[in-house]
């Protein structure tokens, strides 16, 4: 090793040490935990190595419910939030007056605390002794009967969950997409105008391909973010997500570690690894699709 690369390694050393200590080692530990069968938290002992933790987790109805919830959340919120964000960005990009004001308004949820937003949603949706919640008041005003969004049917709860998630992730996407749209060279649009290109064709043939790298970025990070959802659920349904039937995979991992039924790091590790494999697979597929398109 010559002097120069030695120097380089020296500069990298602090980062390598910290990452190794606080990232790589725990990751390896998670893998080890996940294959230790019958691990006892108190005595720190286990029977042996095997796949039992995985098969237990995969048969646990709570885990399956969590996977189902997470998948529904991902499938609904990622395309919807990206699509709506694109529409709003297009609108923002084509108006002149009050553009800054609208941009600020749309960006507000991003700087608002998750739990504070959760509180707002409680006011919107929660049934109490005094009121059915704002949304129910509207439903009643239109002649419908009120629905219990927080403790009622699964579909209603899922609706609130998706609505909340979309609302929370939207500002960042709008921010990214408006700047992506603004960075498209206006000459392309002028050239298209001279050639008499219809608005729809300009959008599909010019705008979309131009900002597609940004859209792919948002879809990939959106998938990852939605798979890791947890705090938003707690903000709306409280900490006992299993009994509310609204748990997510990350929530399941947390419960296995620290929840009422906590103290099972092996199950938690197995569930975390399963989540990792799911996210890895989807990200790889995303990358492959985006590569082929280009």
């Amino acid at each position: 090793m010559d002097k120069k690369s030695l120097k380089g390694w020296l500069y990298l050393l602090p980062a390598i040490v910290f990452l190794g200590l606080f990232m790589v080692y725990p990751l390896v530990d998670v893998v080890i935990y996940s294959v230790e069968e019958g691990y006892n938290f108190a005595s720190q002992s286990f029977f042996g190595y095997g796949r039992y933790n995985f098969s237990y987790v995969l048969r646990d109805p709570y885990f399956l419910q969590a996977v189902k919830n997470t998948l529904i959340l991902v499938v609904i919120t990622v395309p919807l939030s990206t699509g709506i964000a694109l529409l709003i960005s297009l609108g923002l990009n084509s108006i002149k007056p009050l553009k800054d004001l609208f941009q600020t308004i749309y960006f507000l949820p991003y700087v608002t605390n998750t739990l504070a937003v959760g509180l707002v949603f409680m006011i919107l949706f929660k049934k109490t002794n005094y009121t059915d919640g704002f949304v129910n008041l509207i439903i009643q005003w239109f002649g419908g009967s009120s629905i219990d969004f927080i403790e009622g049917p699964y579909a209603a709860k899922m609706f609130v969950m998706c609505f909340y998630t979309i609302w929370v992730v939207m500002p960042f996407k709008i921010l990214i997409l408006t700047s992506a749209l603004a960075s498209v060279n206006p000459d392309y649009y002028k050239a298209a105008r001279v050639d008499g290109t219809s608005r729809f064709r300009i959008f599909t043939r010019i705008t979309l391909p131009m900002i597609s790298p940004m859209i792919f970025y948002l879809v990939i990070t959106g998938f990852i973010g939605a798979f890791k959802a947890y705090s938003d659920e707690v903000a709306i349904f409280g900490t006992d997500l299993n009994s509310a039937g609204m748990n997510t995979i990350v929530g399941y991992v947390y419960d296995m570690l620290y929840g009422d039924s906590g103290g099972y790091p092996s199950y938690a590790s197995a569930a975390a690894l399963i989540l990792f494999v799911i996210i890895l697979t989807i990200t790889c597929i995303n990358l492959l699709v985006s590569k082929r398109k280009r």
Partner: protein
Amino acid sequence: MKIVLENLTKRYPNRNKKIKEDVIAVNNFNFEIPDGKLIGLLGPSGCGKSTTLNMICGLEKPTSGRIFFGEDDVTALPPENRGVGMVFQSYALYPHLTVLENIMFPLQNFKGKDKLSKTEMTERSKKAAALVQIDMLLDRKPSELSGGQQQRVAIARALVKMPRVLLLDEPLSNLDARLRLQTREEIRRIQRETGITTVFVTHDQEEAMSISDMIVVMEAGVVQQIGKPQEVYDDPVNLFVAKFLGTPPINIFDGTIRQNKLYIGEEAVLDVFPEKNETEVCVGIRPEGFMIQEGGPLSCQLSSVEVMGRDTSVVASHSACTQPAFRAIVSSEGAASLGTGKIGFALKPAKVHLFSRQDGSRIRFTVK
């Protein structure tokens, strides 16, 4: 298709909101562009030449005035209904489409009875590509092409829908010097072959002079002079036009006219009979207007001699010259024996122009 511009004016509100007065980008532009000619709009940046081009294209609406293509008033028409092809300074080639797809793009916009079949579109695109000689690059992406090739693709895309008018915005500014020379010949050839009335914008006078049938010199939104390149060069209407055309530029001296003699400094250099009685004038002398003559009427201090083969460029200084040094181009034979120190010049009257010191307007004169 001839293009008629009638009292064309464009005003913008001032960017600085405190100034109420509008910015006048183009002021009362009148010009009839003859059919099938190549016209160069020439001027320094900010003179309104691109705005004029955009108004002809339809991307900008004139504040007042009218534009005719042939007999049709197109002032209110959007660009797509005018039948114009436009080549942008940045070329604006769609980076995700291949060369063929780029050229085909305008054809795919046709609707209704104009709609073309896929084979027709491909055929016409290939024909346009062949015209600009890029038919072997059809499957490439724009990023895989050189600047000159991208330029050709942009021209092919503008030509493929067979426009009545072709507009080029600074077509050569993104090319290196050698390619620029080649491409401007290419533009000339394509224009001749298609016979489409073509307007192009440039700030490079050499570019405009070399290929245009006519040039329009603009400054601050006002047309200064319109004419054939050689005519404008030989007979500029004012000091601005004289200074703007020609490399090396015209040399300006402070002069006076007394008793029908033109004085530069204390020396009488020419006998002149001016049309106007003005004593204080600017004297513009083209570099090729100097002749080396021992004891010639204009004596100057020689600074250096640059040999360029056929010609020799003599750099000298004179106290009445507005620049610290001026440049004369003489044939190499006469310059061989140049030493240092004083040098005398005689002047060719046709290459000497007089301008008013007040407003820069031309003062014509006869020699005898």
